[in-house]
Amino acid sequence: MSAPLLEIKAVGKRFGGFVALEGINLDVARGERLGLIGPNGSGKSTLVNCICGTLNNETGTVHFEGRALDGLPANRRTHLGLARSFQLPRPFMSLSVADNLRIPLIYAVRRRSALILSPQELDQRAIELLGMVGLEPKARRSPRDLTQVEMRKLELVRAMAAEPKLLIADEVMAGLSHSEIEDIIQLLLKLNGQGISIILIEHIMRAVMSFSQRIAVLVSGRKIADGKPDEVVNNPSVVSAYLGQ
């Protein structure tokens, strides 16, 4: 069993008097599929922000591939192989949908592969990625012309464009239809098949259960459970804190 890809030790974060995260310990192995669940406001997105460098955790450490991430700005962490989608989509409004994908292709991927892709190749790759989520027809449009659901898909695929080693998908399935959810799961499974670790943050329990190898539960900034899906789902404290609702 090799060393974990991502190691989160005793991470804590406060906003003024409000404790958003406390004593979080979480590991993600290479190629693992981890589900992260918890009620709204439990700290899931804050944890993602701390992992990816958008926020700085006050206590504890985050290690990626054995390397300490503390103090590293978000873009450096992306270069190292972390990528995330934002829970509330944040597309680049003045760029076309396809160009939104060019950004990680230029700035994240090129760093690692030293391969300079021509504008045509970049565009091809962008269209390819858009095709995976059915956004190809809207490639030249502005993100303003996308529906909420389409924007979430763009978020996901933009994170994928960075060719991460660990992808964090933050509530990408909200508002999707049954079959669309299936499509996303298949897409994520395919990525995982290529060796990419995935943290799936979702409220749609069915999806989380079928997708995850392991589930961690966050409630009020603390991790209250961490284990196989069946164990976690039957854990009494999880049931009362979250699933019972």
Partner: protein
């Protein structure tokens, strides 16, 4: 270099008095920027406006400038409400575009200055009052009344505001808005009304600050610009929304500026605020980064 202790102490005292005044100038920014996150760089323009109104009332009716400022407080409050309403409708509601909001306030700053030049010209204006002129002496320490009175009234203003913020429902609502808008919505209070009220209060303080300014020194329209660096430096150093912090930071800046003016010459004083600003930005970035 001969360091006469009297000179040192007088410089320090002058600095503290100046600092008291700076607190009144900055209080408005502590509220609008520190608590509401509205970058009102036109605040010094409102202060200069206050100075000129105090000047008018003083020259034509002989009214004491501080009294004049209190009389026009409601007008300034109303002006603040108006400005915030325009700001809110044009910028905050449309989503974050800090550039436009900044340009808006910068435009206001500019327009105010130009209008004042058109109305009053570039001559220095000053007011007359019983306490401008005499100086108390405590031993070898000079306490010019024209500095002492504004300083004391200013500190009184800060105390009153602090009490209002911490002990009234509206005041606490404003502090809550500063922390978390969502919490306020859950309390079923309208955050926009609260914010507008707070912003109006911040502009109202400008009326008083303006009166203090013209008591302390003669005023002409471009004087406001010197204060932009100062107020933001103090606001940041003082911990953004904290009123007590603002007072401490104001005193600090006042003393350092006073020493600089005494030992290096008054033409270097404006640069001090910038040094402060850079220092605070370098030393306290954690309080400012990505809220």
């Amino acid at each position: 270099m001969n360091f006469p202790i009297e000179l040192l102490i007088n410089a320090a005292v002058a600095g503290l008095l100046l600092g008291g005044f700076y607190a009144a100038v900055t209080i408005g920014i502590s509220i609008s920027f520190g608590m509401l996150d509205v970058v009102n760089i036109a605040h010094p323009a409102f202060i200069i406006l206050g100075s000129y109104i105090a000047y008018l009332l003083n020259q034509s009716l002989g009214v004491d400038p501080i009294l004049a400022a209190i009389i026009v407080l409601p007008a300034f409050y109303f002006l603040g409400q108006l400005v915030y309403q325009v700001y809110y409708l044009s910028f905050e509601r449309r989503g974050q575009d800090a550039l436009r909001g900044l340009a808006f306030f910068f435009g206001l700053l500019f327009i105010t200055e130009v209008v004042l030049i058109l109305l009053f010209g570039v001559d220095y204006r000053y007011v007359e009052a019983a306490y401008i002129g005499p100086t108390w002496r405590l031993g070898f320490v000079d306490l010019p009344l024209r500095m002492l009175v504004p300083c004391l009234v200013s500190l009184l203003l800060v105390v009153v505001l602090q009490l209002w913020l911490t002990h009234t429902f509206t005041g606490r609502a404003i502090m809550a808005v500063a922390q978390d808008q969502l919490a306020l919505q859950l309390m079923a209070a309208n955050p926009i009304r609260i914010k507008r009220m707070a912003f109006a209060v911040s502009i109202a303080t400008a009326s008083l600050a303006g009166a203090f300014l013209i008591i302390i020194q003669p005023v002409e329209p471009s004087v406001g610009r010197e204060y932009i660096g100062r107020v933001f430096a103090i606001c940041v150093l003082g911990g953004m929304g904290s009123l007590p912090g603002t007072v401490i930071a104001s005193m600090l800046l006042g003393v350092v500026e006073s020493f600089t003016a005494t030992f290096y010459g008054p033409s270097w004083a404006p640069a001090v605020a910038f040094g402060f600003l850079l220092l605070t930005l370098a030393v306290r970035p954690a309080g400012i980064l990505g809220r």
